[in-house]
């Protein structure tokens, strides 16, 4: 997520590193567009490879049959949902502390993707739970905390939507996001802290070393694909947010006019 700063750092102005060059919405806007396209492309390629491994390379599980293959969606989605929340809270906190517009916009842009990932983890988990545990849902620590994560995302979005003034919306959202961060370690360590129905670390899943290896590879590739997709989606959304918030500025007008002329 902090990629744009690193890319920005490469632009040097008379030898000095101009770290802030891309921190301005105006300059970040076109950069984000270019980057989003790259990330989407990588996501498609990795996704294809990952799915190929998932369905054709990884062997059938001895106990779970074919049903276990849902893991290739479930785990990356669950990882991303947690990871994105932390990143969102980070940017929100930076926005709150230093009043930097772009970081707040980043937080706002991440939320829907994060919510989507949390939903996906819950959904695939529930689908998986029916054959595995014989029930869609139990109020177990990991499942509950993941559900809370989804609600936190939804709450963050609802709070921002309810506030007209964007600055106030950013700041209020930041407080909520920061408060909610406690939930992430709870999700992650819930399987260690409480004995639950849910699987612990992936090692426990190992039936035989060779199988774990292909599965692990599949999962990692899928996780990377998800990551790239999330980056792309976030950047696309942040562009929309920038444009909406800066609609009164000259450069946004120029941009809109330019588009019209092109068309």
């Amino acid at each position: 997520m902090d990629r744009h700063i690193r890319v920005g750092a490469r632009r040097r102005v008379r030898g000095a590193i101009n770290l802030y060059y891309y921190a301005a919405p105006r300059t970040f806007y076109p950069l984000a567009g270019r980057m989003a396209r790259v990330f989407y492309a990588v996501a498609v390629v990795l996704g294809a490879i990952g799915l190929y491994i998932a369905f054709f390379v990884a062997p059938t599980d001895a106990q779970q049959g074919e049903g276990y293959r849902i893991i290739f969606l479930h785990v990356p989605a669950a990882w991303m949902s947690m990871f994105l929340y932390v990143v969102m809270a980070f940017w929100a906190a930076v926005g709150l502390a230093f009043n930097t517009r772009l970081s707040s916009m980043m937080a706002q842009a991440i939320a829907p993707t994060g919510a989507w990932m949390a939903f996906l983890a819950l959904w695939t988990g529930a689908l998986w739970g029916k054959p595995m545990w014989g029930t869609w849902w139990v109020w177990d620590a990991r499942l509950t905390s993941e559900l809370i994560l989804l609600f936190l995302y939804l709450g963050f979005m609802a709070l921002q939507a309810a506030i007209d003034d964007p600055r106030r919306a950013d700041r209020a959202g930041a407080v909520l996001a920061i408060v909610g961060v406690v939930n992430v370690p709870i999700i992650y360590f819930s399987v260690q802290w409480w004995n639950t129905l849910h699987q612990g670390a992936s090692v426990s899943l190992t039936r035989s070393p060779s199988m774990a290896a292909t599965m692990l590879w599949g999962m990692l590739v899928m996780a990377l694909a998800f990551w790239m997709y999330c980056l792309g989606a976030t950047l696309t959304r942040v562009r929309a947010i920038i444009l909406e918030r800066e609609r009164r500025s000259d450069w946004a007008h120029e941009l809109a006019l330019g588009k019209e002329r092109d068309a």
């Binding site: 509950t144 809370i148 709450g155 309810a162 106030r168 408060v179 909610g180």
Partner: protein, 227 residues
Amino acid sequence: MSASAPLAAFACVLRRDLLLALRRRSDVATTLFFFVIVVTLFPLGVGPEMSLLRTMAPGVLWVAALLASMLALGRLFAGDYADGTLEQLVLAPHPLGLLVGAKIAAHWLVTGLPLVLLAPLLGLAFDMRAEALGTLTLSLLLGTPTLGLIGAIGAALTLGLRGAGLLLSLLVLPLYIPVLIFGAGAVEAVAGGLGPGAHLSVLGALLVLALFFAPWAAALALRISLE
């Protein structure tokens, strides 16, 4: 500006809010009344089988307590916001978190504590056993302040917004669920013959965490809401 000044300010806000609650006694009673209604209406719907009622009891009582706390939240800052006294609190020469803490404490004393004291009586009506009643009271005693503290953040964030009610529930409910689970869990553990220790210590940990962070988070949220 003596060393005792912050304490005096805390006491002043606490006294003020308790006095106000005394003046608007029935506002407070509403929460309690609501709690009692929710709890007592349920046997009506379920029928009078005692063993069934006993199994339901911890869940019903905790859910009712949670709902009652959530509904009471709306009043935590709204009055002060509407008449401008909240601005004056923010401008008072004291750490705002402290004053907010005083408000939360007063709020709990008038809405949470009576509920804790009433719960065992209602539990009796559900034929709960003595040790389960004890655990129920203890779990509520540890849990309801946490509900108030967490809720204060939500109440501060949604202050003056269109449709604050729903938003408040949406923000606060996810954070309430752990408290509910461990609270009801403690009672169920006792009813099931296990010790409540693990559940209660988690409730205690949540309380300590909330005590330390919630007033400051709520204070920050208030400042934002007042802009």
